[in-house]
């Protein structure tokens, strides 16, 4: 069942990863979130400084293809990132929620895609305090974030092998994404054919109606 406010995700490797994540202990998810937050604060403290004017810099970041969401409490001096699973109590009321596929959210975080374009295409949905959302978007876009580099740098000498592992995982992801796209097209093909047939029938009906002689009101049939 979909969580409230969520749109249906598309079939992607991340959706499958998300299903695999379901049994992961909450403590492991939280440890990963805290590690990411520490790296972000160390490398990009200016993001949090740019948000200092907000009354409540608390955001729910909701990747629709994962069974978790993240609560970002961005207020200095101690910003926090909390991993939430379905049904978890939210520790602080968010000022705004940002929802979208994880890939789009990461591209937005790294400034590789334009937030307005994601909104126009309905890939991204936002609700709550729009001033807070706009401030976060602008702060993040100005920060030159490279997520892989930011997360791997603290690993020190282990960073080299970890980078190679990340590159291999990236290649595997891209391959899986292409394969799943083929699978998705195959699964949807019968439905697509029926939709195409209905389209043609609707066009025919439209044409018939537009060519039919117009009758005046009250005219006998």
């Amino acid at each position: 069942m979909l969580r409230a406010g969520r749109q249906a995700p598309t079939l992607s490797p991340l959706l499958l990863v998300g299903l695999a994540l379901r049994p992961a202990p909450r403590s492991a998810l939280q440890a990963a979130a805290s590690f990411a937050m520490a790296a972000m604060l160390r490398r990009h403290s200016n993001v949090f400084e740019r948000l200092e004017g907000l009354a409540s810099p608390v955001f729910l970041i909701d990747p629709i293809d994962l069974p978790i969401s993240l609560l970002l409490e961005a207020g200095l001096p101690a910003p926090r990132l909390t991993a939430l699973r379905d049904g978890d109590a939210v520790p602080a009321p968010p000022a705004a929620a940002i929802r979208g596929p994880l890939r789009a959210l990461i591209e937005l975080l790294e400034g590789r895609t334009d937030g307005d374009a994601l909104f126009f295409s309905r890939t991204l949905t936002v609700e709550g305090d729009m001033a807070a959302v706009v401030a976060l978007r602008n702060a993040v876009d100005g920060a030159d974030i490279d997520l892989a580099e930011d997360l791997l740098r603290p690993l020190g000498p282990l960073g080299g092998p970890a980078r190679r592992l990340a590159a291999a995982a990236g290649a595997l992801y891209r391959r899986a994404d292409q394969d799943l796209e083929i699978l998705r097209a195959a699964l949807l093909a019968p439905v697509q054919r029926r939709c195409d047939t209905q389209d043609v029938r609707l066009d025919d009906l439209d044409e018939t109606l537009s060519n039919a002689p117009k009758r005046r009101r009250g005219q006998q049939v």
Binding site: G5, Q7, R50, L51, G53, L54, E107, L108, G111, R112, T113, D114, G115, D116, A117, F119, F120, S121, R122, T125, V126, E127, D129, M130, A131, A132, V133, V134, A135, L136, R137, N138, A139, D141, G142, A143, D144
Partner: protein
């Protein structure tokens, strides 16, 4: 035809966007200070004085100029922030300031005569008499033309004025009363002309109702987008309203300006510079649009026809228009 290339004037809302614009081949970058002195006074956007200094240095190392937009109208009795903005732009070495208010133009021309002055689109100067006035009285070197003119009308203006002209080439469209629009002010009490914000974010609310996206500005529901329908900005001018039992866009439809294929005609019309709109957009938008226009501007200068550029995914409502440049309405 071949000749001098059109100058590409590109937006920057953050230092990262400035670097993206410069790296993608901008000839000049326009930006604003982080306050109400410019018409994109959005949360988290714009430049501190230190960031402007760094931006000017970065642009200068790459042969690019920086223009500072100080294009809102000073509050009655409190011109201080606007005067400081002009002083700081001059002191930090900006190439030009983009101004709209005649009091501020007078201040800039008397205090900083060596600083280039451009007339903002917010001044709505759309005929030779008005433009000559700004040139004669305040030494304005360039006028940013409002998006109300056809290419033929722009050519006629260029032949009659002693200043350069700059025209919008890509990005968001205002309703065609720039500098005089009161829609945002009516709905929210804040306007682009005075406060630098059109439809300020704190007054915007989105609602998801069974897959339909409903956008609200203050207490006005201004649009309902069907599931999957491309969305637009939450401004009243792009609202879809019910009139005569039919929902339609009464002012203008959500679409972005794109005149990339008209660059030869604009060159022929005597235009000096092209403005890319979008200081509120991300650096990915800036990089992609500036790259496409750089390539096309250079091709046109070599006498080639402009090639199509796939900028549709960046457009509002997923649609492009040539707006008034090819006016098909009366």
């Amino acid at each position: 035809m071949s000749g001098a290339a059109l100058e590409l004037v590109c937006p920057a809302g953050t230092p990262a966007a400035l670097r993206a614009a410069v790296d993608a081949g901008a000839d000049s970058v326009y930006l604003g200070f982080r306050d109400e002195t410019n018409a994109r006074n959005f949360p988290g956007l714009n430049f501190s004085r230190d960031e402007l200094a760094e931006g000017i240095a970065y642009a200068g190392r790459n042969g690019c100029q920086v223009l500072v937009a100080i294009n809102t109208y000073p509050r009655a009795g409190d011109p201080g922030p606007w005067h400081r903005a002009v002083d700081d732009a001059a002191g930090l070495g900006a190439w030009a300031v983009i101004l709209a208010d005649i009091g501020l133009l007078d201040y800039a021309s008397s205090r900083h005569p060596a600083l280039r002055r451009h007339l903002s689109v917010q001044a709505s100067a759309a005929n030779p008499e008005t433009i000559r006035f700004y040139h004669d009285e305040f030494g304005v070197k360039r006028v940013v033309l409002p998006r109300v003119l056809t290419v033929q009308e722009i050519a006629r203006i260029n032949s009659a004025v002693p200043v350069e002209t700059e025209v919008f080439a890509f990005g968001g469209l205002c309703v065609m009363v720039e500098g005089r629009c009161l829609l945002s002010s009516y709905a929210t009490g804040e306007s682009p002309n005075m406060n630098g914000v059109c439809s300020p974010a704190e007054h915007v609310r989105y609602e998801d109702r069974n897959g339909r996206l409903i956008s609200h500005l203050f207490n006005f529901a201004i649009n309902v987008f069907a599931e999957g329908e491309p969305a637009g900005y939450p401004t009243l001018c792009k609202g879809r309203f019910q009139a005569l039992n039919r929902a339609s866009y009464l002012f203008e439809e959500p679409a972005s300006l794109d005149v990339i294929r008209m660059l030869p005609a604009l060159t022929e019309a005597g235009v000096t510079a092209l403005k890319i709109e979008g200081r509120q957009r991300g650096k990915a938008y800036v990089a992609q649009v500036v790259t496409a226009f750089r390539k096309t501007v250079d091709a046109v200068a070599r006498g080639k026809e402009p090639a199509a550029a796939d900028l549709a995914p960046l457009t509002e409502g997923g649609r492009q228009t040539t707006g008034a440049y090819e006016k098909t309405w009366r």
